[in-house]
């Protein structure tokens, strides 16, 4: 698999419009209008009265002229109880999300990074075996291993444990192993040789030479992984049922799959859309700060097994 990171959109002049791109632009404008309408709707409804009698039967909540701020209120109204009857407040839920997302994202980035470094910079047969194993695991589509994974995780005591589920996710598999492998492999050997001549050991070379050279790629992958885990609700639903996350709580609110707090919270669009804002805010802030890293130029060539 040929993958590389590259600088984008350089030295390309803006092209003139003709009928073909104008048609594409029309579709894109329509897309943008629908997206903005949905986002504007979210903010509008999230700031209306949450009393069911105030909006029952009125589209676009037009009867609610007043502005309400519910973000503080939902911290009192949204909570859940675990199987032992212990209450998780929205602060606890937020904390679970932060620990799960940061922990999983960090290890899901670090583990393939270390494995890729071991395979790319050392000439041992084990490296070639590991590389082939990751490639095979990626191209052989295995369906339905979740029941087995769940039983194994339960047997090892990883279920309902944040460190346990983070360990479950800390694997080297996936596309980013190859991104890092390619990056490590393309690093000039001169730096490493010079460090060795100066008496640096393998740890010093890894931390002082290799990591600084790969930090931009590492940060990009870390950010993408963080957003993936922050948005993930299916893993916490199955493996962390006593430690609910924000994504899982929001999903329960929209599917009425379980109690999420006070009785007036369930099926209430105003509270649900406030939860939408709360769960979107961290990723939108990260996206606004690291926009270039998020959209930074992942190029993928053909699969060359």
């Amino acid at each position: 698999m040929k993958i590389k990171l590259k600088k984008d959109h350089q030295n390309v002049r803006r092209s003139k419009l003709s009928i073909f791109p104008v048609i594409i632009m029309g579709i894109l404008i329509l897309y943008a209008i629908v997206l903005f309408a949905l986002l504007a709707y979210t903010v509008f409804v999230a700031t209306r009265s949450a009393k069911l009698t105030d909006f029952s039967g009125s589209y676009f909540y037009m009867k609610n002229k007043n502005f309400y701020f519910h973000l503080g209120e939902i911290f009192n109204k949204v909570y859940s109880f675990n199987s032992q009857g212990q209450k998780s407040t929205l602060f606890d839920i937020l904390g679970n999300s932060i620990i799960y997302s940061i922990g999983s994202a960090f290890l899901k980035t670090l583990v393939p990074c270390l494995a890729a470094y071991a395979c790319a910079r050392f000439n041992f047969k084990t490296g070639k075996v590991v590389y082939t194993a990751v490639l095979l695991a990626m191209i052989i589509p295995i369906v339905g291993s979740l029941p087995s994974e769940l039983k194994v995780a339960y047997g090892l005591g990883l279920v309902n444990s944040l460190p346990g589920v983070i360990m479950l996710k800390a694997n080297m598999l996936g596309l980013y192993f190859f991104v890092m492998y390619t990056t490590f492999k393309s690093m000039p050997n001169d730096y490493f040789e010079a460090a060795r001549i100066d008496g640096a050991n393998n740890f010093q070379i890894l931390f002082k030479i290799a990591f600084p050279l790969i930090k931009n790629v590492f940060l990009t992958i870390l950010l993408i992984n963080f957003v993936t885990f922050w948005n993930d609700y299916q893993t916490p639903m199955v493996y962390l049922r006593d430690k609910p996350t924000l994504g899982f709580t929001l999903w329960k609110m929209i599917t009425a799959a379980g109690a999420v707090g006070d009785s007036d919270v369930s099926n209430n669009a105003v509270y649900a859309l406030n939860m939408v804002i709360l769960s979107s805010a961290p990723v939108l802030i990260l996206f606004s700060i690291f926009k270039d890293k998020f959209m930074g130029s992942l190029t993928m060539g053909g699969v060359k097994g």
Binding site: M25, M172, N202
Partner: protein, 314 residues
Amino acid sequence: MARRRHKKSGNSKKDLAFHLLLLAWPVLQFAVFYIYVNINSFALAFNYGPDAVPNQDAFYYFRQVFAYESTTNSYPYLKSALISVILWLCSSAISIPLALLFAYFISRRFLGSKFFRFILFLPSILSATVMIAIFKKFNDIDLTYFLIEQTQSLDVPNLLNIYEVKTYITIILFDCFIGFGTTTLIYSNKMSEISPEIFEAAQLDGINRFREFFNIVLPFTFPTLSTFLITGLASLFVNQYSLFTFFGSSIAKLGPGPIGYVIYSNIQGPATQGIYNSAEYHQMAALGLVCTAVIVPLVFGTRYLLERFGPKER
């Protein structure tokens, strides 16, 4: 002087020890959560080992799968497989051409390309749960009431609460709507590798934008397109098409749902109740194994055909 790039360490015992130390956790994790999990999946499917259900032979759950029966539902698995194929075909037919067109628009830097690049990527940053929460609330409350008031009729169809086909169409369109970000970005980055001189030469030859797209851009992007086709096909029996996010495990009005949805919702049910040794796990493992046996040759065959007959990367 030529720069040496790929010379690796690998001569001393210290290097070997360090190399093995770096690989220790990744390999251990892989051995347990990939190799052992998949071996255990075979054991579950063939009803073998400590978790075997008494009085059932090794092929009991396979017979159920091939008889298109389910322990808990009254629908045939064949219908689920067909739904998976139809949804994949429809989804690919909509999303692939549009993603390529959007990527062409962005890579050729037409008016507003940076803005549209940002707009297309935004739903990829927000979660599917967030986008579906917004759409569901909008559809269930406001769109429905708006249509009732406008048409003065209570006979207004709810796009997510009617019969099979229309609901599937809504979900497929919405799934495509929120899924353009990453694919468009990767396509456009690939397209921007095309040398500007090629486009200039083509314009001097008088070819229009339509032919530029089909004769220059599309053949150049084909390796990336074929990778997406292969990975899309590989997820044929895994993809849930946001159905679980929309409806949870209750889509009685829609019928069985695709295979990915069926497997996940049958496992999620017992797991969220704290049951980790359900008989459904055996059947889902058997169903998964049958689907793997179908999809692996399909993926490798498609890959061979695309590499053999598709345009070559220049």
